[in-house]
C-alpha cells in the first residue's frame, strides 16, 4: 500500500456546503498557510465540523476526523502494536497517519478526551512539529501539509472538561455561534429545502429555546436541529409535529421544560 493511497480515502470528493457568516474562511486559510493549529469554539450543532470539511475540500487536503471520548487513550490517536501471525507489528493511529502523509487531523470535541491524552499533541503544535512514538521508539516529523484542528464546546464549562492552559495557548481560535436570525433562516431554508418563511418560524422557535440555555436546558436548539425539523416539514409534517420530533423530545426529559418549549412552538407557529 503506498503512502498516498492510505490518505486518499480521506479526501472529500464533493463540496460540503458552507454558508459564510463572516470572514472565517479567509482566517482559516491564513492560519493554514503558515500551518498554525486552529481551535474551533462554539456550541453543538452550529457548524464546526461542516466548516472543517468545507475547508479541507477547499484546500484539497485529506481530512482525518477523530471523535474524542473519555475512554480514548493516547494509543487510540498515535497507534499501537498489534499481534499478528508473524509476531507484533505497529499500526499507525489516525493522528500519526495525518502527520506522516500530510492531512488535516480534526479532533472533534477534544475536551471529552482525558487530559493525559491531549498532551501528546503538544510537540506537534509548536514549532517542533514532531510526534514522538514512544512505544515504537520513532520520531515522526510532520509532513509540510499537516495541520491540526480541534473543536471545543465552551458550553460544558465543567472544571473536569476544560483544556489545559498549555494546550489552549498553542492554538489560533475561531469563535462560532448560531448565525444571526436572517442568515440562519437562509441556511435552514437552503439545507432543508423549505420556504424562507417556514425557516424563519423555525429560527424564531430556536431563539426561544436558546433563552432557556442554562435554565433547564444545557443548550438551545442548534442549527442542525432546525435543519432536521425543516427536512421533516419538507416531508409534510406540521411545524409543531416536526419540532416535537426533532427538537423538544431529544433536548429534554423535564416535563416543565417540555411544556415551556411546546408553548414556545405554539406561540411562534
Amino acid at each position: 500500500m503506498t503512502a498516498s493511497s492510505l490518505l486518499d480515502a480521506y479526501l472529500l470528493d464533493h463540496e460540503p456546503k458552507w454558508h459564510p457568516t463572516g470572514d472565517e474562511t479567509a482566517l482559516f486559510s491564513a492560519a493554514y498557510d503558515v500551518r498554525l493549529p486552529v481551535m474551533l469554539k462554539g456550541p453543538t450543532g452550529c457548524g464546526k465540523t461542516r466548516f472543517v470539511e468545507h475547508m479541507a475540500w477547499r484546500l484539497q487536503r485529506p481530512l482525518v476526523t477523530v471523535s474524542c471520548h473519555e475512554d480514548m487513550t493516547a494509543s487510540d490517536l498515535v497507534g499501537r502494536y498489534l499481534l499478528g501471525p508473524e509476531g507484533t507489528h505497529w499500526q499507525d493511529g489516525p493522528l500519526t497517519l495525518a502527520v506522516r502523509y500530510g492531512g488535516i487531523c480534526y479532533l472533534d470535541e477534544i475536551v471529552e478526551a482525558r487530559q493525559d491524552t491531549t498532551v501528546i499533541i503538544h510537540a506537534l503544535t509548536d514549532d517542533r512539529r514532531i510526534l514522538p512514538l514512544e512505544k515504537k521508539g520513532e520520531l515522526v516529523r510532520a509532513h509540510p501539509d499537516f495541520q491540526l484542528v480541534i473543536s471545543y464546546n465552551p458550553g460544558y464549562q465543567s472544571v473536569l472538561k476544560d483544556l489545559k492552559e498549555s494546550t489552549k495557548q498553542r492554538f489560533c481560535a475561531l469563535d462560532f455561534d448560531y448565525p444571526a436570525a436572517q442568515v440562519e433562516a437562509g441556511i435552514v431554508a437552503a439545507e432543508a429545502a423549505i420556504p424562507q418563511t417556514s425557516a424563519e418560524t423555525l429560527v424564531r422557535i430556536a431563539e426561544k429555546s436558546r433563552n432557556l440555555r442554562g435554565q433547564g436546558l444545557n443548550e438551545g436548539a442548534s442549527t442542525r436541529m432546525l435543519i432536521h425539523a425543516g427536512r421533516l416539514m419538507a416531508g409534510g409534517l406540521s411545524v409543531s409535529a416536526a419540532c416535537k420530533l426533532a427538537m423538544i423530545t431529544p433536548m429534554t426529559d423535564d416535563p416543565e421544560i417540555r411544556a415551556a418549549l411546546t408553548a414556545a412552538v405554539d406561540a411562534c407557529a
Partner: protein, 748 residues
C-alpha cells in the same frame, strides 16, 4: 331446570311487594325511634326513589345510616342526609358507589359528628369536583389535619381553612399556580428571554383570592387559581403570562393618570392591552390561538359597559368579529388608522381618551370599584399606571416580602447556576425592596419546602403534608476542629491512613484486556507461542489502567431530637456530661474529615420535628460548601430538642441528593430511637411513612442506610430500612471510631 326457574319467578313476583314491606318496616322503625317527625318523613320520601333507582338494599341501608347519624349528631342532620340521598342517588348512579358514599358519612359521624353537617351542606359541590375516591381522601385528610381539634375540624369542612381549599384543589387534580409554577417560569423565559420574579398573589384583605394577574415593580403576581376554568387552568395561566410578557416587552413608561376619569383609565388600558398584543402577535402569531378562545363575548346584546369593553377587546384581536355597535366600530377604526404609531404607547392614550370620553357622554354606568378586566387572562392593569399609593391596594406591592419568605422552591432550586454567576444582574433588574428575603433571626425557621406523607391506614400519600423549616445552627465553637484533634488525635491519624489506602488502590493495572494502551507482554508471548503451535491464541493481549472510579455522594442526616441530649450510658461508667449528641458530633466530624479527603461530596443536615407544621432542619454543610471551620461551628452549635419525624427528613434529604450527579447516592441516617412526633399517636404511622420514603428513594436509585444508636434502638429500624439497611451500635463511645470505618467499608 324447573326448580330454579320457579324460584326466580317467585322472587320476581313477590320481590316488589316484599321490598315494599321491608322498607315500610324500616320506616316504622325510624318513626318509633323517637327522632321526631322529620326523619321518618324524609325517609318516606327518599326511600322509594332510592329503591327505584338503586335497589331495595340501598334504601334499607339508608335507614340504618340515618338512624346512626341521628344518634351521633342530631335528627335534623339525619333528615338532611336523607333529603340529600335523592340527588346523590342520581349522581352516583349505582348501588356500589352509593353504598360507599353512605359508609363514608357514617364513618365520619363517629369520630367527628360535628363535621357531618358542613359536609352534607357542600356535598354536591364536593362530589362534583372530587368524585367519590378523592372525596374520601379529602375527608380523611381533614380528620387527620384537625387531629381532634373540633374548631379546626369545623373550619376545614366549612372550607374556611385555607388548607382545606388547597387540599381540595390538590385532590381535585386541578392545576393551580403551585402545580404549574415551574413550567410557567420556564415558558416565560423561553418566550421573552428573561424572567421577572413570579409570585402567587396573596389573598386580599377580605380573604377573597385575587381574580386577575398583576404586574408592577418588576414582579408578576398570578392568582393562586382561576376558578371556573376547570381543565383549562394551564391555558389561562399561559395566556396571562404571555399577555404580561407582551406588556413588559412592548410597553413604555407608566402612564400618568393626570385628570383622567376611571372610565377613561379603563379604556386606555384596554387599548394598550390590544396594542401590546398586536405587537406580540407580529413576532409570535401562534399566541392568537392561546388568547382568542378566552374572548367569548357576543357581538349583540345589552350595551352595558362590561359588554362593550369585552366586544372592543375582542374586535381588536379578532378581525372577523362583527362590529354592530357604533362605539366598538369607532374604536376599531381608530386603532387601524393608528397602525403607523403602534410602537408608541401614546397611541393607546390618544385613542383611549377619545373613546372613554365618548362612552362617558352616553351615560352608561361604569362602576370602577367592581370593575374586573375581561377576558380572564388579562391583568388588572395596575402596572400600567403611575397610581398614587392607595391603602386598599396594599396587597399589590407591600406584602411581597412575605410571599418570597415562604415561596420555597422558587428560591431554592430556582437556577442555582444563575445565582452564582449572575448575582449582580439579578440584583439590578429587581428592585431590592420588593424581593429582599425577610431577615431571619436565629431560632425562627425559613420555610424551604413541603413534602408529602404516607398514611398507611388510608393507603394514600398526602401531598405537601409536612412543612420543612430551615434553622440556623446555634452559636458554635470556632475551635471545634482543634479540640477534635486533641480528643481523637490517634483516631484521626488512623483514618488518614485508611483513606490513603482506599485512595491508593484505585489505579489498577488491568492485564489481558481485549483493548488497551500497550501489549501485555506475558499474554503476547503466550499468544505468539499459540500461533506458532497452530493453536487459536487468546485475543486478550493488551494491558490497560483502570479508571479511578469513585463516585458517591452522601447526605448525612443527624437526629437531634430531645433524647440525644441524654448522657451516654446512663451514668454508671462515669461518662457524666458526655451526651449522645456530643458523640454524634465527633463521629460526624471524623466522617466529614474522611470524606473530604476522599473527595466524596457530603451534605450534613440535622433534623428534629415539632409537629407536621415544623420539621426543623439545620443545614450544617451543604453539598456545595467546603469543609471549613464554619462546619465545625455549625456542628458544635447543634442543640438537642423536639421529636423525630424521620420520613419527612428522609424525603427532604433525598430531594437534595437527587440534584447531585454521582454514580451512587446515599442517605445515611443516624438516629437513636423510633420515629415519634407530638401530633401522632399511632406508633406505626410514622414508621410506615418512613418505610415508604425509603422505598421511594430506592426507586430513584438513592440508597438509604441507618445507623441506630443504643440498645433500645433497632427494633423499628428493621421495619423501616429493611434488615440489611441498618446497623446497630450499642456502645456509643465507639461511635466516633465506627462511623468513618463503616463508611469506608460500605463504599469500598
Amino acid at each position: 331446570m324447573p326448580a330454579p326457574e320457579t324460584g326466580a319467578m317467585a322472587a320476581r313476583a313477590t320481590g316488589p311487594a316484599g321490598a315494599d314491606a321491608r322498607i315500610a318496616k324500616a320506616h316504622a322503625r325510624l318513626a318509633g325511634a323517637g327522632y321526631g317527625v322529620s326523619v321518618p318523613r324524609a325517609y318516606g320520601q327518599a326511600a322509594p326513589i332510592v329503591a327505584d333507582a338503586l335497589g331495595t338494599e340501598q334504601a334499607l341501608a339508608l335507614a340504618d345510616a340515618a338512624s346512626r347519624i341521628a344518634i351521633r349528631t342530631r335528627p335534623r342532620i339525619a333528615a338532611q342526609f336523607l333529603d340529600l340521598s335523592v340527588p346523590m342517588a342520581r349522581r352516583l348512579a349505582g348501588p356500589e358507589p352509593f353504598g360507599r358514599w353512605i359508609a363514608l358519612l357514617v364513618g365520619v359521624s363517629k369520630p367527628a359528628p360535628d363535621a357531618v353537617e358542613p359536609l352534607l351542606e357542600r356535598m354536591e359541590m364536593l362530589h362534583e369536583r372530587l368524585g367519590l375516591v378523592a372525596l374520601d381522601a379529602w375527608v380523611q385528610s381533614g380528620l387527620r389535619l384537625a387531629a381532634g381539634d373540633a374548631t379546626r375540624r369545623r373550619a376545614y369542612f366549612t372550607l374556611d381553612l385555607a388548607e382545606a381549599v388547597r387540599l381540595l384543589e390538590r385532590h381535585a387534580g386541578e392545576d393551580t399556580f403551585q402545580s404549574l409554577e415551574g413550567e410557567l417560569r420556564a415558558t416565560y423565559r423561553a418566550l421573552w428571554g428573561h424572567v421577572p420574579p413570579i409570585r402567587e398573589a396573596l389573598a386580599q384583605a377580605k380573604g377573597h383570592a385575587a381574580l386577575r394577574a398583576s404586574f408592577g415593580a418588576g414582579v408578576i403576581q398570578l392568582p393562586s387559581s382561576y376558578s371556573g376554568f376547570r381543565g383549562r387552568e394551564r391555558l389561562v395561566y399561559q395566556a396571562a403570562l404571555a399577555h404580561i410578557g407582551a406588556h413588559m416587552a412592548y410597553g413604555g413608561k407608566r402612564f400618568e393618570p393626570g385628570q383622567l376619569k376611571p372610565l377613561q383609565i379603563a379604556v386606555v388600558s384596554l387599548i394598550e392591552d390590544a396594542r401590546v398584543e398586536t405587537l406580540a402577535l407580529r413576532e409570535m402569531p401562534g399566541l392568537k390561538r392561546l388568547w382568542l378562545p378566552f374572548h367569548d363575548v357576543s357581538p349583540d346584546g345589552m350595551a352595558t359597559t362590561p359588554s362593550l369593553f369585552g366586544r372592543l377587546a375582542r374586535a381588536l384581536i379578532d378581525p372577523d368579529f362583527p362590529l354592530r355597535h357604533g362605539w366598538v366600530r369607532k374604536g376599531v377604526e381608530m386603532f387601524r388608522a393608528g397602525q403607523g404609531q403602534i410602537d408608541t404607547p401614546a397611541l393607546s392614550r390618544h385613542i383611549g381618551n377619545i373613546l372613554g370620553n365618548d362612552l362617558g357622554q352616553t351615560r352608561v354606568q361604569f362602576n370602577a370599584r367592581d370593575y374586573v378586566v375581561q377576558p380572564v387572562y388579562r391583568d388588572d392593569n395596575l402596572g400600567l399606571w403611575e397610581l398614587p399609593p392607595d391603602p386598599h391596594q396594599g396587597q399589590q406591592h407591600h406584602h411581597i416580602d412575605i410571599a418570597t419568605h415562604d415561596l420555597r422552591r422558587s428560591e431554592e432550586t430556582d437556577r442555582p447556576q444563575e445565582r452564582k454567576t449572575e448575582r449582580s444582574e439579578r440584583d439590578t433588574d429587581i428592585p431590592p425592596e420588593t424581593v429582599a428575603p425577610m431577615p431571619v433571626a436565629s431560632g425562627v425557621g425559613r420555610i424551604v419546602g413541603q413534602v408529602p406523607e404516607y398514611d398507611h391506614l388510608a393507603g394514600i400519600e398526602r401531598p405537601d403534608w409536612v412543612t420543612i423549616k430551615e434553622y440556623d445552627p446555634g452559636p458554635g465553637d470556632p475551635l471545634f476542629w482543634r479540640k477534635l484533634e486533641d480528643r481523637h488525635g490517634a483516631l484521626l491519624a488512623r483514618i488518614r491512613a485508611l483513606v490513603r489506602a482506599a485512595a491508593l488502590g484505585r489505579h489498577r493495572r488491568l492485564k489481558r484486556q481485549a483493548e488497551g494502551e500497550r501489549l501485555d507482554l506475558d499474554a503476547a508471548i503466550e499468544a505468539s507461542i499459540a500461533l506458532r503451535a497452530q493453536r487459536t491464541p487468546d485475543h486478550r493481549v493488551y494491558e490497560g489502567v483502570s479508571i479511578p472510579d469513585r463516585s458517591i455522594a452522601v447526605h448525612l442526616l443527624l437526629d437531634i431530637s430531645q433524647s440525644t441530649g441524654d448522657p451516654v450510658g446512663g451514668g454508671p461508667n462515669g461518662a457524666g456530661d458526655v451526651t449522645v449528641l456530643n458523640m454524634l458530633r465527633d463521629a460526624t466530624a471524623l466522617l466529614a474529615h474522611a470524606m473530604d479527603r476522599l473527595g466524596d461530596p457530603l451534605a450534613i443536615t440535622a433534623f428534629a420535628s415539632d409537629g407536621r407544621e415544623d420539621l426543623r432542619v439545620v443545614p450544617v454543610k451543604r453539598f456545595e460548601d467546603a469543609l471549613t471551620p464554619l462546619t465545625g461551628m455549625a456542628l458544635s452549635g447543634l442543640r438537642a430538642g423536639y421529636s423525630t419525624r424521620i420520613g419527612a427528613a428522609i424525603r427532604h434529604a433525598g430531594a437534595a441528593l437527587g440534584q447531585v450527579a454521582c454514580h451512587r447516592r446515599l442517605v445515611l441516617v443516624v438516629t437513636d430511637g423510633a420515629p415519634s412526633d407530638i401530633d401522632v399517636s399511632d406508633p406505626a404511622y410514622l414508621v410506615m411513612d418512613a418505610r415508604r420514603a425509603v422505598q421511594l428513594l430506592n426507586a430513584q436509585g438513592i440508597d438509604v442506610f441507618c445507623i441506630a444508636l443504643g440498645q433500645t434502638a433497632g427494633q423499628r429500624q428493621g421495619e423501616i430500612f429493611s434488615k440489611r439497611g441498618f446497623v446497630q451500635i450499642d456502645r456509643l463511645d465507639a461511635l466516633p471510631e465506627k462511623l468513618p470505618a463503616l463508611y469506608l467499608k460500605m463504599t469500598r
